[in-house]
């Protein structure tokens, strides 16, 4: 399954577009003159936990946002469970970067979690007791039940991240896309989040997360997708997360010592 930039052009993906929770073909996104993501193919393994890895500005978040239709690509196709994105929106949950919203917004923790139910509620549907108890369950799963009535700005960074995860849980999706869920969170939150993500995987859900901490990749994820504007490598951690692919993705930006360390960790 390993694909390197050098031998691109031959598609060696084993799983077809039909059965993949998220399949991307020829995706190019540009914010200005220079493309942020160039001609990327990605085929997400069903029921796996995939880390999207790459240096700063490599297009990790952009790839995720284009897959979700938040930014419009210049070219390329996205299919979700074998169908166009619009038809399968109900099966996707998204956790944006924590810093992308204004936490001073006048709303409570429970209201944010209830936003995850808005497809179900529709425009004018009332929030009923069963919706409320589902939202509370989701808060409970991330250990934030006692904070339901807090204003969101009163939370720490890690708590805010957990509230976002609870909102995604409320969406009750089959594919979870997370943008840097571990960025700037405390150790307890990191443990809580990874426990929830692993429970999702055990329940047969597919998890894709933009991840920046190379040291925890092997512990947390079973698949990786390395990107530096173009795809560098994709596949199971043991095959695609190697000193060679890292060097290729990060270039000179990754110290040799770090690569050695990772190689050792990988055995």
């Amino acid at each position: 399954m390993l694909e390197l930039a050098a031998n691109q052009g031959v598609s060696v993906a084993e799983i077809g577009i039909e059965s993949s929770p998220l399949a991307i073909r020829g995706l190019t996104v540009s914010y200005g003159q220079k493309p942020a993501v160039f001609s990327v193919d990605m085929t997400v393994e069903p029921g796996a936990m995939t880390a999207i890895i790459g240096p700063n500005g490599a297009g990790k978040s952009t790839l995720l946002k284009a897959a979700l239709g938040i930014v419009s690509p210049l070219s390329g196709q996205v299919s979700v469970f074998g169908e166009p994105l619009e038809k399968q929106r109900a099966r996707i949950a998204y956790v944006p970067q924590r810093a992308s919203v204004d936490w001073d917004f006048p709303t409570r923790v429970i209201d944010v979690v209830l936003m995850g139910l808005s497809r179900e509620l529709g425009l004018l549907g009332r929030v009923r007791a069963r919706h409320m108890s589902r939202a509370m369950d989701c808060l409970n799963r991330v250990g934030m039940r006692d904070f339901a009535d807090r204003q969101i700005g009163q939370l720490s960074g890690g708590q805010q991240q957990r509230v976002f995860l609870a909102r995604a849980l409320a969406q009750d999706a089959d594919l979870y896309l997370l943008d840097e869920p571990f960025a700037g969170v405390d150790a307890a939150t990191e443990k809580a989040i990874i426990a929830v993500l692993k429970s999702l995987k055990e329940a047969g859900k597919t998890v894709v997360a933009v991840h920046h901490d190379l040291a925890t990749v092997t512990d947390y994820f079973d698949h990786v997708f390395l990107i530096n504007t173009r795809k560098v490598a994709e596949g199971p951690v043991a095959e695609a997360f190697t000193a060679e692919t890292l060097q290729s993705a990060y270039g000179g930006r990754l110290a040799t010592a770090q690569i050695d360390q990772i190689s050792r960790a990988l055995g």
């Binding site: 006048p106 409570r108 969101i152 009163q154």
Partner: protein
């Protein structure tokens, strides 16, 4: 004050002022949270070229063509602001500043270059409106409210602003959930299928409708003040958006009523001879309310400082 005096002279300006204040304050809540509050300022400036063009085309001062012209100019301005913001990749405030000053200047030029000197199109009227003149001379007392003949003589601004308030309220009620979600987290809103671009545009159009209707009745000072002051003051009273909306309506009503009464009677109480501009006083009251909530409001501390938990 008896009904015989109050109904013909004060009831209609009070209602028009109050409706205009609420119609602007409601969308203002979202505009302030989206950091687009200046859009009210922008719209109240860009209506000038729209009104002048409407006058040039029809050759007369009549309400509907002018309101259409004003609304058209608002839409052009909103589209241009979005275009400048996206193509120039600059922040929205700067894009608004560029567009509304340019369009206002174009309006002034048009006004100068064409023969509009004979008609009543002046800056003063545009700023302060003419709330005090919107009286209901056909009324003789409270009973006139049920008298079809007297009702026919109502100033046309009243049903117009009432209809505007109804449209604004309906929009807010119907799109409450997507508005709230997309204001808080636009990216997430898009992933659940909210068309955030269209919704944001609709919000600005609704704000423009409120601004043009209020501008017609009460001038641009109220428009600018009411888009910002009641929502901003309301934000400092609560940490819940639903409650914030309620407070903003309360503050809009209090500003309009107290401003109107103070403008009419305040100077007399102080021994002066003349009343002052009601629109100016209403805007001043809304500013005072904002100042009070900024000092004493229970939720005025910016969040972000994590609690001890």
């Amino acid at each position: 004050m008896s009904g015989e005096e109050f109904v013909p002279l004060s009831l209609t300006p009070l209602l028009i002022g109050t409706f205009a204040a609420i119609a602007c304050a409601l969308p203002g809540n979202f505009l302030v949270l989206r950091k687009q509050a200046l859009i009210g300022d922008a719209i109240s400036h860009v209506v000038l070229p729209g009104i002048v063009v409407a006058f040039l085309l029809t050759g007369a001062i009549s309400t509907w063509p002018m309101m259409l012209g004003a609304a058209g100019a608002s839409v052009v301005a909103v589209v241009m602001i979005e275009a400048v913001r996206r193509l120039g990749q600059i922040e929205p405030g700067a894009a608004m500043g560029v567009v509304f000053t340019t369009m206002f200047a174009a309006g002034v030029l048009l006004l100068e270059q064409t023969d509009t000197s004979t008609v009543h199109l002046d800056v003063e009227h545009a700023l302060y409106g003419n709330l005090e003149s919107l009286i209901w001379l056909d009324a003789t007392g409270w009973s006139s409210l049920f008298d079809p003949e007297a009702l026919a003589g109502l100033p046309p601004e009243l049903p117009r602003i009432a209809l505007t308030l109804l449209v604004v309220s309906l929009f807010m009620w119907l799109f409450w959930r997507p508005l709230k979600i997309s204001t808080f987290d636009e990216g997430f809103a898009r992933t659940i299928g909210v068309r955030t671009g269209a919704l944001g545009f609709a919000l600005v159009i609704i704000a423009a409708i409120a601004a043009v209707a209020a501008f017609d009745a009460v001038g641009s000072i109220i428009v600018i003040a009411m888009f910002i002051c009641p929502p901003a003051a309301a934000r400092m009273m609560t940490n819940r958006l639903e409650t914030q909306i309620t407070w903003s309506v309360v503050f809009a009503i209090v500003s309009a009523v107290s401003g109107y009464v103070l403008a009419g009677y305040g100077p007399l109480w102080l021994g002066a001879a003349d009343a002052v501009s009601a629109a100016g006083m209403i805007a001043t009251m809304s500013g005072l309310i904002l100042a009070c909530t900024a000092i004493w409001g229970p939720c005025r501390t910016r969040a972000g400082a994590p609690s001890t938990a």
